[in-house]
Amino acid sequence: MSGTTAMSGVSVPDRVGSVARWSAAFVGSLFVFGLFVAARGEDPIDAIRAIIESAVGDADALGETAIRATPLLLGALAVAVPARAGLFNIGGEGQLALGAVGAVGMSQMLGGSAPTFVTLILMALAGAAAGAVWAGGAAVLREVFGTNEIITTLLLNYVAAIIVTWLVFEPWKDPASLGQAYSVELDGRSRLPVITGNRVHLGVIVALLIAVVIWLVLARTRWGFRLRVLGGNPEAGRRAGFGVVGLTTGAMVLGGALAGLGGMIEVAGVEGRLRPGILVGFGYTAFLASWLAKHDPLRAIAASLLLGGIIVGGFGLKIATGLSGGAVDVLTALILLGVLGFAQFREAI
């Protein structure tokens, strides 16, 4: 965070060095990934080509990458905002899932009675509220009892997943599902419109706009400035008379709301109903995306596209080689190791 501001003023040779380090980190991680692929008896070049073709090979592939990156971006912002205040939100997973729950609940409450635009706005608000409550719970526990938010947000992910399972097997189960466990399909007014291709929905644009807004809030408002001060040095924040509790809680709640909105967008734009496996794994990937972007909302766009692309690339990889589905996790992890350890400025321990 303080590193980011320091970097704005770097000289030209430093910038060249930075590009070199980033490139080395990416090439290095691809190389190590290739070694692992080769160790499994597959051709690394074929594997990497399969990933890239599947992620960015044609318009459909690019669309899929954008679709996948959308909840990741909002999940990353959910990490970035609290991180500015020095908090860790590892609960994106649960907040995304509950955002989907909130949105579906709102849609069912409205029952198609409101016009599309109003329905979608209310669903977004409900999703954001649900995510905010989930994150806010962890924030309150932190402020009132001093319970570490890393631990609570992490453990609450498991609870959120159980809530989703319960809903789709019990109260929200679609009676016409012929045995399948999922909620009733969202009505037409509760679906985000497709803007291009078969599946690319309006949520992609919304997420981009929100990233810009969050960037402005963090970079240009007094609130954002205070968060940064607090994250850099809590004592200074306290001495400056900031309402520290309000700031940190607010950051966490805003983070949860962003993740919740991500959940709403996924369910209204892609899934169309609540199901047991919805958004599983997205929260953790989003956490990594935020770190890749050093909690900068604009860079989080690129980071989400990269990690989303790797996931989508993994689909092609699975089909083209016999490699297990976990193979792309290795690539993601290696890129993160390269970036965290080598490309980014060092943080003090």
Partner: protein
């Protein structure tokens, strides 16, 4: 009797969480958090299973699992100590890496038979009412885990090595002044922590479940990290934490088997809610129990 069953289950299922918890206490005492504990556990589970199959020796498997957990922790140490990357983020990355690698290289071992670490009943004691099944009818690693907490406490608080580790976590500058590199000490503590996480994973795959499947730790390593706070960074109390979690799992399954009629979804959430609830109750007291350097990290 419900209590006996739940406690027996708590001990049986708790070993694989207890070792990683103690390991993470040691790492955090030196000033490093390792969320990669989950990954170290998973790696230990697969390595122990695979080496056990390839060599035909369960004990060689356990050793390999310990080594693999330590190796992955060494990567974490290198990243956060030498490359100064963020501990929390790096830990999650380490877990991601382990998930991917064990999925990639574990394919050949799914469902394969392994030489198990069999339970060894302690003659005489195993027949005691209540205490027999709860304490004296387990595998050797579980017996070892009974001693691990007190032993780790003794090393940390009663030996020179332990003092050095704690100094790295509390006053690294003092350690430095006396000519010992806090970085080196932290490397050691993190690697030992990873080895214990690997040991927990090895127990899970080769003694408790006799199985390998993708992501078979399902968050047990994360829970171990949570339990460190519960234990107030005291390895002796790690046991209570580990058994709280495994005991909650055992309780929910026992209640199902007794036809309790309680919602299965609620029961499933019990272990996580129990850990959160206890942490909340204890955290006002334990807030300042942690090593000084950690407060700068988390």
């Amino acid at each position: 009797m419900l209590l006996e069953s739940v406690l027996t289950g708590a001990v049986r299922g708790g070993t694989s969480i207890l070792f990683p918890t103690i390991g993470e206490v040691i790492a955090e005492r030196s000033g490093v958090v390792n969320l990669g504990t989950e990954g170290c556990m998973l790696t230990g589970a697969l390595t122990a299973y695979a080496v056990g199959i390839e060599t035909g020796s369960a004990w060689l498997g356990v050793l390999a699992g310990v080594a693999a957990g330590g190796a992955l922790a060494a990567l974490h140490a290198f990243m956060v100590i030498t490359r100064k990357s963020n501990q929390i983020a790096t830990g999650l990355v380490i877990t991601f890496l382990a998930l991917g690698l064990t999925s990639l290289f574990g394919q050949d071992y799914v469902g394969q038979g392994v030489n198990a670490l069999e339970p060894v009943s302690i003659p005489g004691l195993a027949d005691l009412p209540f205490f027999g099944p709860v304490l004296f009818d387990h595998d050797v690693l579980t017996y070892a885990s009974f001693a691990a907490g007190p032993l780790a406490w003794w090393v940390l608080f009663r030996t020179r090595i332990g003092m050095t580790v704690r100094a790295a976590g509390e006053r690294p500058e003092v350690l430095e002044a006396f000519g010992t590199s806090p970085a080196l000490v932290r490397y050691g503590a993190v690697i030992v922590g990873g080895m214990l996480a690997g040991l927990g994973g090895a127990q899970l795959s080769t003694a408790f479940t006799l199985n390998w499947s993708e992501n078979m730790t399902v968050g047990r390593g994360f829970v171990a990290v949570a339990l460190v706070i519960f234990a107030a960074w005291d390895p002796r109390k790690a046991m209570a934490g580990a058994y709280l979690f495994s005991g909650s799992i055992s309780l929910q399954l026992q209640l199902q088997a007794r036809g309790s009629g309680i919602s299965r979804y609620l029961l499933e959430a019990v272990p996580y809610l129990a850990v959160i609830a206890v942490l909340v109750l204890l955290s006002s007291r334990r807030r300042h129990a942690g090593p000084e350097s950690l407060s700068r990290v988390i």
